[in-house]
Symmetry: C2
Subunit: 222 residues, 2 copies
DNA sequence: TCCATAGTTATCGTATACGATTTCGTACTC
DNA sequence: GAGTACGAAATCGTATACGATAACTATGGA
């Protein structure tokens, strides 16, 4: 009886394993290339391998893990090509998510987003890439929390997870982009506030993402 | 030695099971609501339940199957809300896929697409909804086969699979839409042929999908 | 007659076990 | 010394087995 709550929260071992491994990947404990040995993970968690296998397979479907037959699973890295694909896709689904959410975003949401954005500005000055990246996600979460289409929202989240291993790399490697980003946030908020055309909002949101991609490409091309 | 080819083709049992069940769902052998009993499927295929479980989980991740803990798996149906979400998402990703592919589509591709579209016209006259739906997919496959972003292409395919259970329902239930669709195909081809603006192509492709959704909504609203 | 409850059955969830495959290391040959 | 072949260790893939959970059925009481 006393443990019912815990059990409900825990869910099946397969799900626990999924959540555990995913968390380790997203938070960076398991870095790209890390070899995920089923038996080892199972032992760590105190489970058998069967639920762990299921978890890995699920992560594979989300692109976080590469699972090769009779060889094993490794944490997916993001090579430049993958990065391009992912950012391009994110640009599209974030654009759509923003446009769909915009009419549902109220004054309180805008205020919250502004507060987050303000904190991001401060992170710029104190040079705190980790917090900046977290806040960046928070900012967009505020925009998307009213998104009327859960499928699209799901695609956004998958993209974010896929990029998780690059945590704050843009901030570090593409100087100036972070500052631009903050300004684009404000511009986006104003468009939403003024009930701008859905098309215009979508384009702005898209560009916000693809500009980061472009900055990255410009940086790495030589 | 003689069986190597077969084994390679077969892949792991988990994959075989995935392919088998997916095929049965997409082709309509398992209709929405159908109860997928692990032991039964396993027996059918001659496997044990473990690889079948993995297969079902994968299908769940794609939205084709609903898997409830300690209850079992059923083939997902598409209620009007789900349909809306899926079509809206498809509209977005197909729009993007078309716009990205357009510059890579050559004269031969256009010709092929036109031939398919012509056959679709004939299906209209002979009233052949099944073939029409197949050709419709073929048409778009021609457009997308050069898509430079495999992630986006994957999203398109997932959407198609998700709609598979509704096979040809639009044709049947929304009179006139099929004819419109064929005309929009031709218009789309002309835009691509004339190297129209990417934006314009994207919008046309989007509208092509969302018009079907609108027709459906208009039909069901009363 | 209808509802509640206890027992039964069907099905799921996971552990364990073992055969299959790959990988790595070692010894042997050229 | 380099390359090949063989063998051992690690790891995966799947079958089987069993405990846990939920759905079903039948029985008794209101």
């Amino acid at each position: 009886m006393t443990e019912t709550a815990v059990e409900i929260k825990a869910g099946s071992k397969s799900e626990q394993a999924y959540a555990a491994v995913k968390a380790r990947i997203v938070e960076g404990t398991y870095t790209p290339g890390y070899r995920l040995v089923l038996a080892k993970i199972a032992e760590d968690l105190g489970f058998s391998v069967v639920p762990v296998r299921e978890a890995i397979r699920r992560l594979e479907a989300e692109g976080l893990v590469k699972f090769e037959r009779n060889v094993g699973a490794t944490v997916s890295g993001i090579d430049p090509t993958e990065y391009l694909y992912t950012m391009q896709t994110l640009s599209i689904v974030e654009g759509a998510a923003t446009a769909l959410s915009a009419p549902l975003i109220g004054g309180a949401d805008i205020a919250r987003a502004r507060a987050v954005n303000q904190e991001m500005r401060e992170c710029l000055e104190h040079f705190d890439p980790v917090r900046f990246t977290q806040l960046n996600q928070d900012f967009h979460s505020v925009l998307f929390e009213h998104c009327p289409n859960p499928h699209i929202l799901d695609l956004v989240h998958r993209g974010w997870n896929r990029l998780a291993s690059l945590r704050s790399s843009t901030f570090r490697f593409v100087p100036g982009r972070a500052k631009e980003s903050v300004e684009e946030h404000e511009a986006l908020l104003q468009l939403i506030e003024n009930n701008a055309d859905a098309d215009e909002i979508e384009k702005a949101a898209r560009r916000h993402r693809s500009a980061t991609l472009d900055a990255y490409l410009a940086q790495t091309k030589h």
